[in-house]
């Protein structure tokens, strides 16, 4: 029995331990904001946070989830400065990859409050967007960095607040 938290809620799993976290979330937990794009950690559509750090859930086996805290896009509430910036810059076209992009950006901005273009490129180049919204993603990250007050935790869900508090301490 694997025990872990998803968006602050206690969960258990006793299915195939090889099942990627992505498919647990989508098919079992019915949290579909995390997307399937490649299954090989090549596109970043499945990006979410494990203990506050961004990971690719399509290659994270359930056996590696035990004892950790998972935050998905559904656990980012209320709206994060990154999401607000995404709205203001009007980043999405089809929108499919954007939850992964946003989760990657949130984790990245936690460690880098004032990123350069180069920093953003390095952090975001694992996340593909076939519609080609990269220019707006870059602009939105700059905007979010500007709006993000130093005290604002990177993710606002209780599960990750705890983690953020620990990091500050």
């Amino acid at each position: 029995m694997i025990r872990f938290k998803v968006n602050g809620q206690e969960k258990t799993f006793d299915g195939d331990p090889e099942m990627p976290l992505l498919w647990y979330l989508r098919d079992v937990a019915e949290l579909t904001g995390t997307k399937f794009g490649c299954g090989m950690a090549l596109c970043g559509a499945c990006t979410l946070h494990q203990n506050g750090a961004s990971i690719r859930s399509c290659v994270t086996a359930m056996s590696d989830v035990g004892g950790t805290e998972i935050t998905t896009i559904e656990g980012i509430a209320p709206m994060h400065p990154v999401q607000k910036a995404w709205m203001e810059i009007r980043v999405p076209q089809c929108g499919y990859c954007q939850t992964g992009q946003i989760m990657q950006a949130i984790a990245f901005l936690k460690d880098n409050k004032n990123p350069t273009d180069q920093d953003i490129d390095t952090a975001m180049s694992g996340n593909l967007c076939r519609c080609g919204t990269y220019q707006r993603i870059r602009a939105a990250i700059h905007q979010a960095a500007k709006h993000q007050t130093p005290k604002h935790p990177a993710t606002t869900h209780p599960a990750t607040k705890h983690k953020a508090a620990k990091e500050t301490a």
Binding site: D16, F36, E74, T122, C131, T133
Partner: protein, 750 residues
């Protein structure tokens, strides 16, 4: 579950506009209204007033507009309702969007060819304006005043003389009892009165759901009691199963069983490819079970398909006379005159669409009827395909349309939806078919591989006196007719309408056989046609020692309407969208000016290139600046695009489309190539079919929209065609190397 329960039946209480608008589109009928899946905010009030199929108003003032086109990222699901809201004088915050199921009563629903706004703009204006007139009439009648003395303002009817005011919801029920006015009695707003059309403030209707993960794509659709399927398709097109062993697959936990899907009978059309489906309790188990399947396939006529020799065949054909598709003057006589002759050959490979959401669908067959949810560009094609494969009536197939995680033409073909329906019929329960990325790339309807031969005779002024162009590729028609070898509609995609001022010109097309499924891909044949035409134009410019922009303007020639032959069904295009070189010249001049063409010093390894191409009735010019580093890697510091798409509904979204087209163009120019070995596609995921990532994308894309009152034209596709030739011309300017094949990664630049 969340989806099916949200379907409710509304029967309109009154007739629809009879003959007042486009005939045949408005029909009295009961209709299912699936509430917006991605904006479930409790029960919507029942419509009190529904003056047409397209729009209704509830007594609480909620306006519901039907979106009959699919949303795959181009914005038409937002743009068309915005047009209705504008003419209705509605408050956009009170507008909901109801995504239509597939039904011919909506007319054409195939969201392709960049024509959603173009084809429905006038109709949607009429829909909104008719509703507004009826609301005014209802309020005026209630007040006992003349409708002429009433006006509207953002969801209210006003009688200024008396200061009275009624909300749209308050008069909706009364409006429903009034006769629908004739078209001539419905005034449209003047352009200066528009509040939404053309405004910078417009943003996508689904934007909040997209950034919070609540948006429902096909990948997210579910049905109660459904099972998951992953299908092992024939590796080579047309192969049938010889034998298979599923013992190991069935031992995988959560795998339920395997089922056969029959291989299609040619032509393949949109039918399932065939194969062995693994049915499981979840997607992962279905994928895992499939890895343990052992399938032996028989032979296929396409098992000999190898990309390298096929290229030689195409190129050989391109050197021989082909079918003439446009002829002006006499190129042969001009070539014989002894002017300087320049020839060049260009090659472009197959490409795969790879929308971020792979093909997926959920369907249930029950009692001879099918209910499907799919991210489809064409729900009517879903109806037709499933009906044909299962031998039922298309009216008995209901197709709901989710948001599409990208489409780019792939999702106008619903083979995966048909797979779900076929499997559901065998299983007796709903089935969700999920394609892996490898399935998506191996089994695409590919962008065609093409070879082009170009020849020009150059006069003493450096301009061509004759221009011959020949193009050869397996046509899209082969998807519908296995014997098709010549292109049809592709000719109109930048080949039989060269806008250059050249006295002798001939365009030809040579035959080619297909060996994989060929389909539409964002901007389609314009990609290889524009690549050849604008690479060649630049070669001529450099050969004449002329500036590329000036030479291009000289080629386009004076402002005029280019005489073209139009088919009968293209009467609207001939009348409202003639090929106007003044508009083409203008975008060239603007792109050049914005880029600082000729005014900025280009250091070593840097250069600029230009191309201008009209597609989907939109005029586009693109300047690309490149920097080629000491390792030969190409960087793109800037892209400047100018476009004239006529009237534009949402300018910010249009800029987003063209910014994206530069990235899409970078992918196909730098990396994109699909090849086959013995009929099997060599690429399978983003490791060997690369897309542009942020670190290789253009650093800066500047998009300039030309102000225009011309009718609306396309915006989803037209940004793509000029990109690759502009980039290649820039590479020549930077390095002196003329590369004549896509992608650039195949050529060492240093």
């Amino acid at each position: 579950m969340k989806i099916i329960e949200n379907v409710s039946l509304h029967v309109s209480r009154r007739g629809f506009l009879h003959g007042a608008l486009a005939s045949g589109v408005f029909v009295l009928s009961a209709r299912f209204i699936p509430r917006p899946l991605w904006a479930a905010e409790g029960e919507a009030a029942a419509p009190a007033f529904q003056p047409s199929l397209w729009m209704s108003i509830a007594s609480d003032g909620t306006v519901t507009v039907v979106a009959h086109r699919s949303e795959m990222g181009c914005g038409s699901r937002t743009a068309l309702p915005l047009v209705v809201a504008d003419e209705l004088d509605a408050d956009w915050s009170k507008v909901k969007i109801d995504q239509a199921t597939g039904d011919p009563k909506y007319g054409d629903q195939d969201t392709d060819g960049s024509h959603s706004v173009r084809s429905s703009f006038d109709l949607m204006r009429q829909v909104g304006a008719t509703g507004r007139v009826m609301l005014i009439n209802a309020a005026a009648s209630q007040w006992g005043v003349s409708p002429k003395d009433c006006t509207t303002e953002s969801h209210f009817i006003l009688h200024r003389a008396s200061g009275r005011k009624l909300g749209y919801g308050e008069v909706a029920a009364a409006a429903a009892k009034l006769p629908v006015p004739k078209k001539e009695d419905v005034p449209l707003k003047s352009r200066s009165q528009w509040r939404y059309i053309g405004k910078e403030s417009n943003s996508l209707f689904d934007l909040p759901e997209m950034v919070t993960g609540k948006a429902i794509f096909g990948m997210d659709a579910t049905m109660p009691g459904m099972v998951y399927a992953s299908v092992e398709h024939p590796p080579v097109l047309g192969q049938k199963i010889k034998s298979y062993d599923d013992k190991a697959a069935l031992k995988v936990p959560s795998v339920q069983k395997t089922l056969i899907i029959d291989t299609f009978k040619p032509p393949h059309q949109f039918q399932p490819l065939g194969g062995v489906a693994v049915i499981a309790d979840n997607t992962w188990a279905a994928f895992k079970g499939r890895k343990s399947l052992k399938v032996e396939w028989d032979s296929s006529p396409h098992s000999e398909y190898n990309s390298a020799p096929f290229r030689k065949t195409l190129e050989a054909t391109s050197r021989k006379p082909g079918k003439v598709v446009r002829n002006v003057g006499d190129v042969d006589a001009a070539f014989a005159k002894g002017d300087k002759i320049i020839e060049a050959e260009y090659y472009t490979p197959h490409l795969a669409h790879v929308s971020m959401e792979p093909p997926v669908a959920v369907a249930e067959y029950r009692d001879g009827k099918v209910l499907a949810w799919a991210p489809t560009q064409n729900p009517q094609a879903v109806q037709e395909t499933i009906a044909s494969v299962l031998g039922i009536k298309k009216e008995d197939v209901t197709c709901h349309v989710t948001l599409l995680g990208g489409g780019f033409g792939r999702k106008s073909k619903p083979d995966q939806v048909a797979e779900a329906a076929v499997l559901s019929k065998q299983l007796g329960k709903p089935v969700k078919v999920v394609w892996s990325r490898e399935d998506d790339i191996h089994c695409d309807f590919f962008h065609s591989v093409a070879a082009m031969y170009m020849k020009a005779a150059i006069g003493p002024d450096g301009k061509p006196t004759a221009w011959l162009q020949r193009t050869v590729y397996p046509p899209i028609g082969s998807t519908f007719d296995a014997s098709a070898t010549y292109a049809l509609d592709e000719m109109g995609l930048g080949w039989n309408n060269l806008p250059f001022d050249i006295p002798n010109h001939r365009a030809e097309n040579g035959p080619a056989d297909y060996h994989v499924r060929i389909g539409w891909f964002r901007s389609v044949a314009n990609i290889y046609h524009a690549f050849a035409i604008h690479s060649f134009a630049d070669e001529l410019a450099k050969s004449a020692n002329k500036d590329s922009v000036q030479y291009l303007l000289d080629l386009i020639g004076p402002a005029r309407i280019v005489p073209l032959e139009y088919k009968e069904e293209d009467a609207d295009e001939k009348q409202r969208y003639p090929l106007d070189t003044a508009r083409l010249r203008r975008v060239v001049e603007i792109a050049a000016e914005k880029s600082g063409w000729g005014k900025r010093p280009m250091g070593k390894g840097r250069g600029m290139g230009i191309a201008a191409h009209r597609s989907f009735l939109t005029y586009v010019a693109t300047v690309v600046e490149v920097e080629v580093d000491s390792k030969g890697q190409v960087h793109i510091p800037g892209v400047w695009t100018a476009l004239d798409a006529g009237t534009v509904v949402s300018p910010d979204n249009v800029r987003n489309q063209f910014e994206g087209a530069a990235v899409f163009g970078t992918s196909l120019a730098l990396f994109g190539e699909i090849t086959a070995t013995n009929g099997i596609i060599d690429q399978g995921n983003f490791n060997n079919y690369q897309l542009t990532r942020m670190n290789r994308a253009p650093r800066h894309v500047d998009v300039h929209i030309v102000e225009s009152e011309a009718p609306p034209a396309g915006v989803g596709e037209p940004g793509v065609p000029p990109f690759a030739p502009a980039l290649y011309n820039a590479v020549f300017a930077a390095t002196g190397k003329r590369v004549r094949e896509l992608p650039l990664s195949k050529t060492k630049l240093v």
